[in-house]
Symmetry: D5
Subunit: 147 residues, 10 copies
């Protein structure tokens, strides 16, 4: 994924300021993964959130407005990503996709977990045998409509 | 993904018996998603777990042994799956892959979340506006070795 | 898309009986496209709907139950279909996808049209210059959640 | 889909002017989705329509002429788009393509819905449980010629 | 393209009978390429044409009916065919596609040549330097509708 | 297909001059589709033809020489083109490729239609029910050599 | 490439008989690579050649006729073959394709080496440092026709 | 394949100088196809060869050094090339790959023809019925090692 | 990769006999990975090795002969494998391919590591922090020939 | 793989300085392949390592910092690489992937070799019959967790 020009500016400012996603979470009042999604142009902020974010990064106020436009989302290149961290998410889908599907259908019936009415969080779980990454995804169950 | 013959037999027995994954969790002593993974031949059980599982499904004891063999994993067809429930996991990777990567690197440094020393659970979160599917993934952080 | 064995049996019975989708709509009480989706194993019926459908096709009652299982959906082969009628739907997405996206965002904000809480109907619009096919899709707007 | 330079200028002007597609519909006398298609260079306007559009956007008159040239259409990248809104159109084709095909053949015989002698409209259907997006596609039925 | 069972039976009968496509053209009253398309299940015949075709091939009358069903068309495998004769059609599209597009637009305006209201014929053009294959395609020009 | 810089210059000049392919056919003494192929760098001209073409477009004489170099041909992107006009040529190959192959083999034996010793022409066939596009391809039959 | 049933029978008979391609070359009077191509159903023989081949392999005479039918050629799976011997031919095209193209154009002008009016032979070149495989391809130069 | 900047300079100089590959063969003392491979950055020269080549093309001496660096080889785009001359090499692999494999194994045993310890030459074979292109490839046979 | 019938028989016999690859290494006198390659039909044995292997697995002697035939190698499906263990080899190529290439060129010059005159071994390296898998590949350096 | 701007600067400096990877290994105190991985932006260094590396290459100190950022890894283009040296690693996976998988499972149970807690080294093994490239990969065995 080629990172867009605006994303690169935001990341550079974040680095120059030495501000973490956790600190941005404090300022903007939204989860850090969501804020990262705004920075990578995968989510759109409202005007107030965008203004706070841009200010926290020490950037001029006119950079806020583009962050409110619904972006063209996705776009990893190639379509099966090669970066090992991102690929593991693909692997999890390949290996656990069918079991998860079957368990969800048993618990909820025919339908899906929404990826729109959806949140995703990343936590560090400390562990003496090695810290663990916990990713919690929570999406509304959408039952298939019959018409 | 063409479901293998052995998986089909296990699913048929599970249906005939009317036993849920949650009930199998009780019997086998492992999480229901993991048990579904064994049934879909994406994970291998030990001899004792396999025996319990096969017995709980009312199947002959000799069906346990094949479940202990390390399987050839993955195999969704096509490689970007078309089933909407499974596709959403791909979409989440496409849309949130880069933000999640950046947050993990900030929290942990250069490395990945293991998909092997890893667990994945599915929960129903009741909500008056519509129940939610919660998927919790937890994998050991593996820092890149330098040599 | 290889049509599954059960779909083939249902289509054969429908042909032998000489019953149209419109007539099945009368019997089952759902739209004809949805009924076709059940027959092609792209949608799951409830027990009552499945029973009515199977009976209307003159098939044995035990064929109803499999139609209630959430299917593995999609699966056109190849992924860009070659059948001209189906390909036109792909072409419409290629040509009008971006304009439709921009109009939806302008009318609704950032989000999507659900393909789950969704209906699709096919109508014949008579026209002296040649009848027209009207496809009406109607899906709930799902705004992106911020968390 | 990389948006072309001319499209970007038109979109920027539309934003700067604060004019909506609905307002352009008034000015140009064509549907808003068709106008968006002209802006995204997926459809060509005639000289008069192009002049009105360019003027309504406050752009110089010489920008009208290129909008009358038949464009190279399509071009979403990758060929199975990752943007969730656009992907849903692909998913609808994957899941409902075969049922729709069968219903159309039953109603019309062997042939297709034209994607050329074709219109597509987007409407907001207000609904207390959440507004709905309605997409209405209407194309001439083209029966296969025998020769 | 795996040839379907019914196509194979028709081709075997054609061979056993020693009847050429030109002779079938006489019997059925349609062009030989169209008849070959019916045999390969790429076109559907009406009941009378199917009956004549099946009879001319010395096959039982009940084989006629399936030839009247609108087939799932296309399906060359792989999507860029490897058979040299068929590949040349792909190559012609690759090399001459853009020039042909530009000439058609100049002659007709924005639109396409229909592949549905369409005929394709194959002729042998005798030539002392080596006979030539002439393929004549003729499709209705469909101008893009504005709405 | 990204159009190369030289092609763009030729097309711009052609437009500025208001000269049609038919008029270029008069000047250069070759078919208009072939001339379009030279302009799109899919065919190479000899020095005299190139000089005439460049002069007719009002371009400097030194632009003729590059048109005599054998180009790297093809290059539609993606490999299955999305432009509806060009895609129809792909669809024709998908749907009618096998029937055409069988008819050619019956008429000529094992071999192919050359796409090199080959011509392709586009004609407008006037028709009260709508004008038709006629594409005539004529290539030498090349029988497979046995050695 | 799944080897077809008839090819497998021919290969089995060749092995059972213990006859080499060189010996078949003597019997049939054609090059051994061409004979292998007939056996793999990539080339068609005439009736006499097929009869001789089938007889030399000790097979019943009725197996000759299918070898005279023009086959559907190519079909390696996947399209970039994984077998190392065959892949090297792909690699040679990747690495030396452009240089070979440029040298051929310099020697012959714009055109191609025919792969139809074409022969390919395999020889062993003995060499004390290790024997060498020599593959000699010889195809008619086909200049691009101008029309 | 986008030709690299250095290749373009070398080709331009070769054209400006009016020197053929055959003449470069004289100067450099290596086969013309190999020299073309150096120019296209598919092979690396030693310092002396690079100096002679650069001098023969009338280019500054400092352009020699980059030609001695082992390049990243291959890179035709798309992976199945569309240029007809280069595609024929792919077609030869598709059609004759399996027969050639079987003949090589019969003559040499299990192993491959090296594409590294390898030469490829292009010759014109004059023929009254049309000159022929002869491509001679000669690679060391590498038997599979057992360990 | 669908495992072939003969491979499945060999694996079943190996399991029934309870014999390890290490024990087969003792009997056959070759490395265990090579023996596994013979069993998976990726390498061919000589008659003596095949006989010993088949006998050690308690299988009839006539099963030895097919193991001496050069197989069609490779064939993982899909081409980027989804099995996590095998995928890691792909990932290593993606991440470390360029660095390894540069180091090899620096040490050896322009050329490659042979994958034919090649061995690959797997060892367990015991480690209190967790045992390690060591894979040692050793292939002849093949310098590019100049001709 | 397009080499990034920073990588190109590092490679140019390395060449200008005439310093080998082995010498960088001395300076930085890490293996040469790992250092090459840092240069190709496939691995991240700590501040001290980056400073030493940049200094050894005679580059300004501010170039060190970017080398400490976790990069987006992988990215060979196309996904099955065409460079012969790198392709051989793909071929080894295709041919020996399944045998290696089976041997690892036999020695270690169900799990994988980590590609993160992992080292890879390249050695020259001198051999009178031709020097050999030895690649030693050593990764922690990760057993699949059951939960």
């Amino acid at each position: 994924m080629a990172v867009s020009e605006i994303t690169q500016k935001l990341l550079d400012a974040k680095k120059a300021k030495g501000v973490s996603y956790a600190e941005l979470e404090e300022v903007v009042g939204q989860d850090e993964v969501w804020i990262a999604s705004v920075i990578f142009r995968q989510a759109s902020a409202d005007a107030d959130q965008a203004a706070k974010l841009v200010e926290a990064l020490g950037l001029p106020a006119e950079m806020a407005e583009p962050l409110t436009v619904p972006p063209l989302k996705g776009g990893l290149d190639p379509v099966i990503p090669t970066d090992p961290l991102i690929y593991r998410l693909y692997e999890i889908m390949q290996v656990f996709g069918m079991p998860v599907k079957d368990v969800i259908h048993e618990k909820f019936g025919d339908g899906i977990m929404s990826a729109i009415d959806f949140s995703i969080e990343v936590d560090k779980v400390e562990d003496p045998k090695g810290d663990r990454v916990q990713i919690t995804m929570c999406g509304k169950f959408l039952p298939y409509k019959k018409w």
